[in-house]
Symmetry: C2
């Protein structure tokens, strides 16, 4: 269908385009335009599906109807799916999303925030790197709506959407213990971000509660997968006594599966597995990998709902919200009771 | 390090900020500012690492140093990895990327192009949906640098970066024939886009050359994976005589593996497999799936190189380039000679 212009509507209804414009812009009463005509225009517009020009609307309202979304790395399936869903929901609410990857690089994030400001975005959705506290506080101070997700910044008082990381890893570690595993390692990326610290803590708590010894390997993140797999492989070779491994992120998990295949280990008999994040790679592995599924749709919904609320309300009147969502733990073949463990 | 402002520099050197601004903006000679002072400012700036404000720079140069990137669906790993690499290379060249998903929706794409124009992006990188020819032609007519990738628009004369789709599927189908497979199906998304048509043609050409009968299933794309898996499953159940299946995209391939698992089929003995696009899911499946790997890094490099050339040259002086890159065919266990096939 061809997009209908104000001129088309004016011609069709035989009314001046200025009058149509006043009606569409909600100024009928102010301009003393009759209710009958307003209803006639509204009815026609509803029938043919006229959409107002975004630039004109932006000039009128002082809003760009654009939201800036900053993820850590768009090539990570977690961020890619979240971005996609947020974009979808925003679009249905009349907003466009422009996004970019921060790379967890503070300086790059700073530049991106300043780019978004220059481009007049209406609001910000950010998975923040460490060190960006001042920049985000300054956005908030200037009245810009900001919602953080995936992690938060303890020193910044703003809305955020997160999952219950600590309980998720605690619960999945308890499952491994209940299956009879005793030497359970936790492999993750080295990070001080809140979500990563909480996951590690959940694992430690469960081991502590069972009087078991932790085996922790923190790998420095790299774009080069080989540089993740090498220390991971060295760690597994060094700790021959391990009977289970918990991968702290989907990326670590995928690299872990490649290492396990290359070492010729059998899952779960040589090594039981659990991973954070649930993706096709884990579902299609043999045996399928037990995984903590983040509620991607609920995260996207919450983020966009909180932001739209902030955009549509004067910010002084709402205090900030912290939304903590539950995860699902999908138990599969990779964490079955091992034959060795059963024999004990 | 705190970002240094022009005021900081002016205070430190005890010079007016207007003078500093002229010097930093390359207008010292025009404003008859002494060489000694210019050197003193330059030396200080080099020491402390001042970076000019991007908006000021944009106003001075008429450039925003922002590139708009439009992919089909950012949650697809092909587009997510390409976007990531393009963003990386652009950033190293002083450009920021803002991106969004077109959803293959012509109307949405049109709105996004208009949003990018409003935000003054310097150039466009687009995986175009059908029906967007006029909008892209109008961008080009207005002198905007545009590079298409993944597919092209036959009616629009502009630069594009693609892979050799027809040869890729021809070659992989020939491999299946050489392994002894005779009833080879091709499952793909229904699409008139150039790359999808070329892939289908490559498969048909190989079968034709060998006097074999094609079995083609074109599935209507859906965000809901169940609506892809249901017709795929019905097709496999209907054609019991198939001995091999070629998946035309990574997304179809992933859904195909789920269906094959749910039907309890053994690969390659019940059904040999080949897929377009090479991802972790295929590498980690048992047996690993033979797959056509797109040269993701080379695509990203070519796209950004072509665009930067256009941005840095007066567009009248370069004719448009079509870059066609080669793929790799990674042969794995899923397309080994089946025992049945060997017996024939």
């Amino acid at each position: 269908m061809k997009k209908l212009s104000i001129v088309d509507i004016a011609n069709h209804l035989n009314v001046s385009k200025t009058t149509i414009s006043f009606i569409l812009n909600g100024r009928a009463q102010e301009k003393r335009i009759g209710k009958d005509l307003v209803e006639r225009v509204q009815k026609f517009v509803d029938e043919v599906g006229y959409k107002p020009n975004s630039l004109a609307k932006s000039l009128r309202t002082g809003k760009s109807n654009i939201i800036g979304l900053m993820v850590e790395d768009i090539s990570n399936p977690f961020f890619a799916s979240i971005a996609r869903l947020i974009e979808d929901r925003a679009y249905k609410n009349g907003y466009k999303i422009i996004y970019c990857s921060t790379d967890n690089d503070t300086q790059k994030t700073r530049e991106l925030i300043s780019m978004f400001r220059d481009r007049h975005v209406d609001g910000y959705i950010i998975a923040p790197p460490e060190g960006i506290e001042d920049d985000i506080s300054s956005l908030i101070k200037d009245g810009m709506p900001v919602v953080l997700f995936d992690r938060h910044l303890p020193k910044v008082n703003t809305d955020f959407v997160e999952i219950d990381n600590l309980f998720s890893t605690y619960n999945a570690t308890m499952h491994l213990v209940q299956q009879g595993y005793k030497n359970i390692a936790y492999i993750t990326f080295a990070s001080n971000q809140t979500q990563m610290q909480a996951r590690l803590q959940g694992y430690k708590n469960a081991l502590d509660e069972n009087g078991l010894k932790p085996f922790i390997q923190e790998i420095v993140f790299s774009q080069d997968e080989e540089l993740i797999m090498a220390p991971l492989s060295a760690f597994l070779k060094k700790h021959k006594n391990l009977d289970a491994v918990f991968f702290g992120t989907n990326h670590v998990g995928t690299c872990g599966l490649k290492v396990i295949n290359s070492l010729g280990l059998t899952v779960p008999n040589d090594l039981a597995l659990v991973s954070f994040d649930d993706y096709d790679v884990f579902k299609l592995f043999s045996p399928p990998v037990s995984a903590i599924a983040q509620p991607i749709e609920a995260i996207a919904d919450s983020v966009i709902t909180v932001l739209l609320n902030k955009l549509n309300t004067s910010s002084q009147h709402i205090s900030s919200q912290s939304i903590i969502l539950k995860t699902d733990f999908n138990i599969r073949g990779s964490s079955k009771k091992a034959e060795k463990a059963v024999a004990k």
